[in-house]
Amino acid sequence: MRLRWSMGLAVALFTSVLFGSENLVEFSDESLRSRYQTLITELRCPKCQNQNLADSNAPISKDLREEIQRMLEQKMSDREIKYHLTSRYSEFILYRPDVNKTTYLLWGSPFAILLMGLLAALRLNRRNKIDVGSLDKAVIDQESRIAELLKSGEDDK
């Protein structure tokens, strides 16, 4: 049992080293690495539907990662790199799209729905208050009537 565990562990460690070395990216300046990581997690693989460039192993993602690395080495800004790619692959590849006339619905709808919900809540709240108020009044009316009746009954005795 212990042997099997240690063998499994050895295989796991070994393969992770193998896969790790395949993805190693070299930069002339280490400060580019964090920007590279941010870009490849924020950009979407055009071929596969719901993976970013970092997670995808599609050939096109590999090519685009290399393209991004090349552009970073050319001292292009993040904005320029994104523009370079969206002008070819459209805004589809941005996991965080810019706010513009085609995306205002996308960015605005959560706030619009929140507003609608707030209005509905306010309305319901107000209506409930009125109902409770009139109910209280009815109860008070009844109670005073009962008290009156009881009183008049006592008087009759």
Binding site: P46, K47, Q49, P59, I60, D63, L64, E67, T86, S87, R88, Y89, S90, E91, F92, S134
Partner: protein, 186 residues
């Protein structure tokens, strides 16, 4: 006691959830027919990107965008590893026979295999550009072969098809536009 839904406005408000539900249903129904793997084309209306790449059949011959621009032309991205390209190939042969100028972009392929492939299945291309690294592919926004672009005589991309061009696609998407562009060219 107060009468529920006294004003007509209040009564209309009761139908609001139903109206919202109906609207959502229509939007989602329309969405069913869409192909989620199809990207909107960023390059339609844009000029064909500049490039400098060798010809497939002659490694010493360098081609650039000036070889592509000048007349109405189809640019077809293909590769021997691309299974759908085999299905498409007969259609391209047929179009070339009808006099449509087709230029090939051999995408991330092996040169010998690509030449053998054309020898075996017929070569519909006026010439093929050999894009081994896929650099022109990135400039075109290619994300899978086959893809087909229709260029007008000024080198502007007028239509893009991702996936196989068959009879139906040609008739629906290309034929009229192609005829129109050819009429302008003459």
């Amino acid at each position: 006691m107060k009468v529920v839904g006294g004003s007509s406005l209040n009564r209309l408000a009761l139908f609001l959830p139903l109206a919202l539900f109906a609207a959502l249903t229509i939007v989602l129904l329309l969405g069913l027919d869409k192909d989620p793997s199809e990207l909107p084309s960023a390059l339609v209306g844009e000029p064909f990107p500049s490039f400098s790449l060798p010809a497939l059949h002659d490694a010493d011959r360098t081609l650039d965008e000036r070889d592509v621009i000048g007349e109405v032309v189809l640019v077809n991205i293909w590769a021997t590893w691309c299974f759908a390209c085999r299905i498409e190939h007969a259609m391209l042969n047929q179009l070339a026979e009808q006099g449509v100028k087709v230029i090939g972009l051999n995408y991330k392929d092996n040169r010998e295999a690509a030449i053998a492939w054309l020898k075996e299945r017929g070569d519909p291309y006026a010439f093929s550009v050999f894009d081994e690294q896929g650099r022109l592919g990135i400039d075109l926004g290619v994300y899978g072969a086959p893809e087909t672009y229709l260029l007008d005589a000024t080198g502007t991309i007028r239509h893009r098809r991702v996936g196989v061009v068959d009879d139906r696609v040609w008739n629906n998407e290309f034929r009229d536009l192609y005829a129109q562009l050819m009429a302008v060219q003459r």
